[in-house]
């Protein structure tokens, strides 16, 4: 970051555009993303960082669930006595207990773990398959491309929850109700999204001069795809990935809610818990619904904010770049800039470029 000339203030001078483009051309796709993230400001910056913090908390909770949760997800008794059935929140059970005498707090915390496991698996599966198919389809074209486009369009047109339901229905018959089965059911939904985006960028990158040059020099298709297409195409993926991660949490819970997700004996799962809580709701008991529901909404919100923030930052049509202050060495000394960090400060070029 080019902060050497200016002290750190409320408004950090961003890397100059020139430095940004130079770096990106040298280091390829991911560097362009980090530069854009550093240049973020205003609402996108807020969303990005709020999302990142929530996501980090979610991951920490999930990873350290056994250390954080007072009990295991299937503990219904401790110290020789059973937990109360549908007990309201108190000192022993902060979030109350369920109809099965399970501790809601523990189940909520362990639910994060299950959600993370399934989410990571689903994202990895669909990322690998979607990117691979998209690259091959976009680069080679031909009949394979046409068929794949048709199939993916059909999958895309399908109501996504319905697709996951059908997949869950089929897979649960094949491989039981574990984490992998749930992840596979969700994967089916997201492959088309990666495929579409990657194929489109592969198509346009294929025509780029540097790819043509590589081909002219006799590079094999596998080399062209790996070395030249991949780096260009992969930039469009982070936004989809975070959005999919958010979606995956909801879809998993939807499957669990319908009894098609993870078996209740295997892990704690928010959707299953919410389904069990519907009867409690009719009886006016709020804690079995509120806590797992809130946890899920916060987790989804974290990933959504992260994805939206990234999108606003990376998408050039949405980006509003803050213009850096131009220092006129003759008239302005550095100290005055530190003092007048407000946008309205005189002596600074002010304005926001739309687009």
């Amino acid at each position: 970051m080019a902060t050497t000339t200016l002290p750190t203030g409320p408004i950090e001078p961003d890397a100059t555009p020139a430095a940004g483009t130079a770096a990106s051309s040298r280091f390829g796709g991911l560097r362009r993303i980090t530069t854009a993230v550093r240049e973020a400001h205003g609402v996108p910056k807020f969303m990005l960082w709020t999302g990142a913090v929530i996501t980090a908390l979610f991951v920490i909770t999930a990873v350290f669930a056994p250390l954080i949760a007072p009990y295991s997800f299937d503990t219904y008794r401790a110290g020789g006595t059973n937990f109360p059935k549908q007990g309201s929140p108190d000192g022993d059970h902060w979030f109350g207990t369920t109809v099965q005498s399970l501790d809601v707090l523990s189940r909520t915390i362990y639910g994060a773990r299950t959600a993370l496991e399934v989410m990571v698996l689903a994202v990895i599966f669909s990322l690998i398959l979607g990117v691979l198919l998209g690259l091959v389809s976009g680069y080679f074209g031909g009949w394979l491309d046409r068929i794949l486009v048709l199939v993916m369009d059909a999958l895309f047109a399908f109501p996504y929850l319905l697709l996951a339901i059908v997949a869950g229905f089929v897979f649960s018959g094949v491989s039981g109700g574990g984490v992998v089965t749930a992840a596979l059911s969700i994967t089916v939904v997201y492959i088309p999204q990666y495929y579409r985006v990657v194929r489109a960028s592969a198509l346009s990158a294929r025509e780029a001069t540097f790819v043509e040059a590589a081909r002219a020099m006799g590079a094999k298709p596998s080399v062209v795809i790996r070395k030249y297409l991949f780096g260009n195409v992969i930039q469009s993926v982070p936004v989809i990935t975070t959005m999919n991660a958010a979606d995956a949490i909801g879809t998993l819970a939807g499957l669990g809610f319908l009894g098609l997700g993870i078996q209740p004996t295997e892990a704690a799962e928010w959707g299953y818990d919410l389904e069990r809580a519907i009867d409690d709701v009719n009886a006016g008991m709020w804690w079995t619904t509120l806590y797992p529901g809130l946890a899920m909404v916060i987790a989804i919100l974290g990933f959504t904010l992260l994805g939206e923030g990234l999108n606003d930052v990376l998408n050039p049509t949405m980006r509003r770049r803050r213009l850096g202050k131009v220092l006129l060495p003759d008239h302005t000394r550095r100290r005055t800039v530190t003092a007048s960090a407000l946008p309205e400060a005189p002596g600074a070029t002010e304005g926001e470029a739309v687009k």
Partner: protein, 339 residues
């Protein structure tokens, strides 16, 4: 004269092309559904009836249902059932899937319509406000709200709504016994046709919470889409031209901005139908709403393959047909769409 005939010609050509393009799409969808349903090991009969019947009876049932026929034969039968709009007969209760659609479709239609109305009533004004006052508090608030609504699945918002309003909204009370003649299979329309306004009120009361729960799922998308459309249309040259002519800012925004921002709403609607149908399945289960989605869940729990296959096929076809219709409407409104 010649100009108009040329235009309608291009519209007709566009519609015909679009239909022709939809045919392979439908075929692929059907193949997908068929393949997915056949990926499962064993066959529908043994997985639903296994354990209840002995081997010879199972074989007889399998034969009767055609599950021992070669796959292409089965696919052909499936295609025939789709073309004749029959969609097969369920195992568990011997209902024709077509009857399920006719009898329960009305409830799903009512629910999704209610959700759309809610989403439009809330989403359009909020989206316009947010776009008009970009980056001002109202915009930030509405973005936050729409993100939260997007992040909240139906099965979280619905129970919370029930907890908050369940007793006051009359949701908890059972539907009053309706003695209205069945005409359209859409309960509320039947009641209205019969002139039974108490029944209509009661149905509307019961419809309120499910519609809000389902509508909240898509209202965020509405807000976001309209906001972006307005922002983009306010950047158009014609806006600048209007301002340069001295048109008052309020008129610029209302006449030139809003109108153009609202046209894409139709497209948004089309894109949301798939999401609505998925959400309807969950909403119907939560609120015990007697629609197709709840039927689907019941048949899934009974592992009734034919019913699941038939209902899923209908859902897929509905999505395709609606996206076709949306394209036609778009082509009618916006000549640029027809090339």
């Amino acid at each position: 004269m010649s100009n108009t005939s040329k235009q309608s010609g291009s519209l007709r050509r566009y519609i015909l092309t679009r239909i022709a393009l939809a045919v392979p799409m439908v075929l692929i969808l059907l193949i997908l559904v068929f393949v997915m349903m056949r990926v499962a090991p064993g066959d529908p009969i043994s997985s639903s009836q296994g354990g209840k019947l002995n081997a010879t009876e199972l074989a007889a049932r399998r034969h009767a249902a055609g599950f021992d026929a070669p796959l292409y034969q089965q696919f052909w039968d499936y295609l025939k059932s789709v073309v004749t709009l029959n969609f097969g007969t369920t195992f568990s209760d011997r209902r024709s899937v077509r009857d399920i659609i006719i009898e329960n479709g009305g409830a799903t239609l009512t629910l999704t319509a209610g959700a759309l109305v809610f989403a439009a009533v809330i989403g359009i004004p909020v989206g316009l406000l947010a776009g008009r006052y970009r980056d001002r508090p109202v915009d930030v608030l509405s973005r936050l709200a729409s993100t939260i609504s997007y992040a909240s699945p139906v099965f979280v918002t619905a129970p919370l709504l029930m907890l908050a309003f369940g007793t006051t909204s009359g949701q908890a009370s059972p539907l009053i016994q309706l003695n209205v003649p069945t005409q359209t299979h859409i309960l509320i329309v039947d009641a209205a046709l019969d002139g039974d306004w108490d029944a209509v009120t009661d149905i509307l009361q019961h419809l309120l919470l499910p519609s809000i729960a389902l509508g909240l799922l898509i209202v965020g998308v509405f807000i976001r889409m309209i906001r972006i459309n307005l922002i983009q249309s306010l950047q158009g040259d014609y806006i600048e031209a209007a301002r340069a002519r001295g048109v008052r800012e309020r008129h610029v925004v209302a006449r030139h901005g809003f109108r153009n921002a609202l046209v894409p709403v139709i497209t948004v609607l089309g894109l949301q139908v798939a999401m609505l149908l998925g959400g309807a399945v969950l909403t119907e289960k939560i609120f015990n709403w007697p629609g197709i989605g709840r039927q689907l869940i019941d048949y899934i729990n009974q592992r009734d393959y034919v019913a699941v296959q038939g209902i899923v096929t209908v859902f897929a076809l509905v999505v395709v047909v609606i996206s076709l219709l949306i394209d036609f409407v778009n082509a009618l409104i916006d000549p640029r769409v027809r090339y």
